[in-house]
Symmetry: C2
Subunit: 216 residues, 2 copies
DNA sequence: AACCAATCGTGAAATATTACACGAGTTGGC
DNA sequence: GCCAACTCGTGTAATATTTCACGATTGGTT
């Protein structure tokens, strides 16, 4: 009764659920690397600081099935969560703005973790255009429209100064991008169909300050 | 009944509340820069995508008072939220690991936003030690213990490879740090009294992938 | 001065989330 | 083969969050 795993008719997950699932995924990948074949809900719960019941409920909503006395199959569960997040297929993405943060992102392993493949890097500064960036070359922002269209790039990461963010976003949208990860500290306007995820590095630090002030 | 504003005995805010308050703060600072003296709950709500009622309730818990027909006083409310987060006083912090991400953080404006003052930068690589970093010099990690102690540094930002994270955290804790912002993708062990905030750049990207997959 | 429109403050209802309790199924040992 | 221990699945209760509805207060206008 608990659901045919194949069907994709999952309920929409709450934001809190998504956040927890991301933590679970990290724990699972860690245990997976260590070669553990099974993991219990209590193990996961302890690792992320919540109760085993909540873990089981979260996993149940996903249609995951654990075996009593054994726990959940690590590779299977990992795969399931990755599928829910859609990070099992690597969608082409591009990054705009090759400053320090851009460099950090390019050199990190977030792309495969997040279900994307970095396909192009753009910058507006002529001194930076042409630079080697990992295994690719930084292209001029004037090429953006054409490259995004021809390569079928689905997502754009905006790592430019606030003043340029809206312009870059417009360009990305015009070229057909479906999702934008915005690091600029401004609200960018886009059509409803485009998914925008804003990111501010300051949030983590503010949270830290708050928790430090009220110890707990 | 609803509380003497002066007293600081605020209820503990939920994680969701804190996240929302951080958004409000950003909106307020934006409006403040534009010179707006007042702002309504509906304005804030629209900017962050929630209802005006929820905004008012959040602000009420903080003890903020708005005036009917006018709204909330922008500088006053900004100050109040900053006070709640404890970002009004700048606490000394240090950063460990001067790679690309470290450089991005050093060059950003998150420090004052987050209520800290970057007081020292450390790295273990002899080639990096001594480098100019903004207005300071990158110090050797061997100096960490002494500098943290003598400068009374309260928080440490860990931007080193996973393998070195625990060691760095231990060093920071031993030197008396009260809070750690950890970018390394490992769970670090610390005494209960130390606040640890984990940050993974991948989370935003995974969330984007999820939202892209299930459009909404 | 009196009215109107806008906006806040807040109690109550609806909804969602989380914690608890316990039955059911599975493994491993004797 | 049977028993005991462990862990999942899930109905129920408790709690928290969000929405709704409405009265109260203020500022402008005639």
């Amino acid at each position: 009764m608990a659901g045919f795993c194949g069907m994709n008719g999952l309920k929409r997950l709450s934001r809190a659920s998504v956040l927890r699932l991301e933590l679970y995924l990290e724990v699972l990948e860690h245990f997976g690397k260590e070669g553990r074949a099974h993991i219990t809900s209590a193990d996961i719960g302890e690792a992320v600081g919540i109760t085993d019941v909540k873990v089981r409920q979260d996993l149940l909503h996903l249609g995951a099935a654990g075996r009593p006395k054994v726990g959940y199959d690590v590779p299977r569960l990992t795969g399931l969560i990755r599928e829910v997040f859609g990070v099992d297929s690597l969608k082409p993405a591009c990054l705009v703005g090759y400053g320090n943060l851009g460099r950090a992102l390019v050199g990190s392993n977030i792309w495969t973790k997040g279900g994307f493949k970095l396909a192009a890097i753009f910058d507006g500064d002529p001194e930076i255009v042409g630079t080697e960036a990992g295994e690719m070359r930084v292209r001029s922002i004037t090429e953006l429209f054409g490259v995004v269209k021809s390569e079928g790039i689905q997502a754009g990461v905006v790592v430019v100064p606030a003043a340029a963010a809206q312009e870059v976003a417009d360009l990305l949208v015009a070229a057909g991008v479906q999702a934008i990860w915005n690091f600029a500290p401004v609200k960018i306007m886009t059509p409803e169909t485009v998914v925008v995820e804003n990111q501010s590095l300051a949030w983590g630090l503010i949270t830290l300050s708050y928790r430090l002030k009220s110890r707990g």
